[in-house]
Amino acid sequence: MTDARAPIATGLLRTMWRIRCFEERVAKLKRSMQVHGLIHLSIGGEGVAAAVCGQLRDDDVVYSGHRAHGHALAKGAACERVMAELMGRADGLCQGVGGSMHLVDAEHGFLGATGVVGGNLPLALGSALAARLRGTDAVTVSFFGDGAVQAGHFHESVNLAALWRLPVIFVCENNGLAEFTSRAEHSPVDSVSDVVAPYGFERATVDGSDALDVWEAFGAFLRLGREGRGPMLLECLTHRRRGHYEGDAQEYRDAEADAVWQRLDPLAALQQRALSEGWLDEAGAAAIESGARDEVEAAVEFARASPFPDLGLPARLVYAA
């Protein structure tokens, strides 16, 4: 291990702490009904968002699913505007009409989350096609969970992406649960990367709790994508620490798996490694964490100070002018 990894690890930790602090705060705000609607948290899976989005440019497009706060933040969305969106305020990323499941930050190439599982998969192909026809080296990343793999859109999309050799990187966050149901109960195929085997994808399965591993594996695919090659599929094995949504009674949980994954927390693991490798000292680590907490508290204040949207807004947003 060389010191070249020090700035990468530090950058990853910064993003992961932002996501962790943001989502822990959102969980509290949900309990006091200050954020609205169905809230799906990615606590325990921050490493994937940070390692993937941390290597992308603003003109690289990211599509995501319903568990998308981390992806939006890692792609560059302002913490305060995401918080305001979750609180339904006028200064939210989407003026308060989108909400947690429909975050979009076009300026940073985050073209969006969707509340329909698998619904954004084909859109990523369209964005990749547009990049190809424009002659740029931009790539498109599509985040989805293992539950989306059983959706028809997934199979249609991987076939079409492979047929047209589009520069799109499918990033599956396989947390072993589709809503309340384990992978074993919804598919006979263990590994998501095996599902695309006949299509000739570049594919890999990595430990999603090791953010540096994800960084390397994704980086290799990204270099291919920049050359106009594709598609690729990166399966990241992760764990969903929280319920499917906040408030889910979680009677389906497997206590043994939870105990194992508790030890595999990607944030704790990377921080420990950074300290032991000497990439970061205790004070530096503490500063990253407290910086993230301060940013999130400021975001909450920003959101609370923002007004609710005016009642005429929905009618103005139905059609583009």
Binding site: Y63, V97, G126, A128, L133, R134, E156, L160, Y319
Partner: protein, 338 residues
């Protein structure tokens, strides 16, 4: 302007070619489009513009619609074809949950300048899964625009306008119109989305008809003229947004109306037109508004049954007579019963 004879489907193909020549962001994708498609609506395009811009797709309506949406969000102007409106069912998630709502849900950050071409209608013995008229479903979705041209000139003009529109536009053609011949301008002007056309002026009754039924309404009006009745015929051309000003003004003048489409009457778009006409012209109505549409059954194949199933000029004429003779039909309420 000089005129040229063309078919409906040639007018569509020519409008697509003109748009592709004028703007390299315009692409065409769908099943068999690079081969011209079963109705020749995209014939010649792949030869002129190449297979990067005219893309054959697998039979994956959902993904193909989604690709078009994603491409539109990233700056292209896709025209996607769903070969039969019956198969739009497979793409409805993409159209309804993604395309229609992206501009709204993003707080105005995203636009989806997409045209979805499809065709419906019975009359070719194609059976219950290749003959439906499902446009009313789409009119219920805020964020979509829905157009239904009834002639070659409107097909050309509305296609040009639809491609230029920054919103998802569903362009519903009718298969039985494809090879009819019309005279059109050699350089057709765009037809603004949301503007109805009065095809025949009259003061006794208003016949409002869409798509294939516009021709039937004109035929019914001709028969009424032979009876000495002066019918006005209006084609809304665009269902969403609906030009209720033009339609309402006409019915306020005539006091009677028939609303005709080929779709099943129950839950059809005629019900919406009827409700809006009632709101716009209630104090001027001389008779209940009449609806003409298909019966509440799937489309049968047998020629005897399909011909009976399809509403046409006769049904419009009959409905007009009911509206026109309403005062004679209604039995006056006896004085002592009031």
């Amino acid at each position: 302007m000089s005129k040229v004879e063309t078919t409906f489907v040639k007018a569509v193909a020519d409008a697509l070619a003109r748009a592709m020549r004028a703007d390299e962001r315009v692409i065409v994708l769908g099943e068999d489009v690079a081969e011209g498609g079963p109705y020749l609506a995209t014939v010649g395009l792949s030869e002129e513009f190449g297979r990067d811009r005219v893309r054959n797709t697998p039979i994956s309506e959902g993904a193909v619609c989604g690709v078009a949406i994603g491409a539109a969000q990233s700056g292209l102007r896709p025209v996607v074809e769903i070969m039969f409106i019956d198969f739009l069912t497979l793409a409805l998630d993409q159209l309804v949950n993604q395309a229609a709502k992206a501009h709204f849900m993003s707080g105005g950050q995203l636009a989806v300048p997409l045209v979805l071409r499809t065709q419906g209608g019975a009359g070719q013995r194609s059976g219950a899964q290749h003959s439906q008229s499902l446009e009313a479903w789409l009119t219920h979705i805020p964020g979509l625009k829905v157009v239904m041209p009834s002639c070659a000139a409107d097909a050309a003009g509305l296609m040009t306008a639809a491609i230029a529109d920054p919103n998802p536009v569903v362009f519903v053609e009718n298969k039985t119109l494809y090879f009819r011949r019309w005279l059109v301008d050699t350089e057709p002007e765009p037809v603004p989305i949301g503007r109805a056309r009065i095809l025949r002026a009259g003061n006794a009754i208003t016949l409002i008809a869409t798509s294939r039924m516009v021709g039937d309404a004109l035929e019914a009006a001709q028969r009424l003229a032979e009876d000495g009745i002066d019918a006005e015929v209006i084609d809304p051309r665009t269902l969403v947004p609906l030009d209720i000003e033009t339609i309402g003004e006409s019915v306020r003048r005539t006091g009677r109306a028939v609303i005709a489409h080929e779709a099943v009457t129950a839950g059809g778009f005629g019900a919406e037109i009827l409700a809006q006409v009632q709101e716009a012209a209630f104090d001027c109505l001389e008779a209940p508004l009449q609806r003409v549409g298909a019966p509440f059954t799937p489309v049968p194949v047998s020629p005897a049954l399909e011909d009976a199933y399809r509403p046409g000029a006769q049904e419009i004429h009959n409905a007009a007579r009911v509206a026109l003779e309403w005062d004679e039909v209604v039995t006056p309420v006896p004085e002592q019963a009031r």
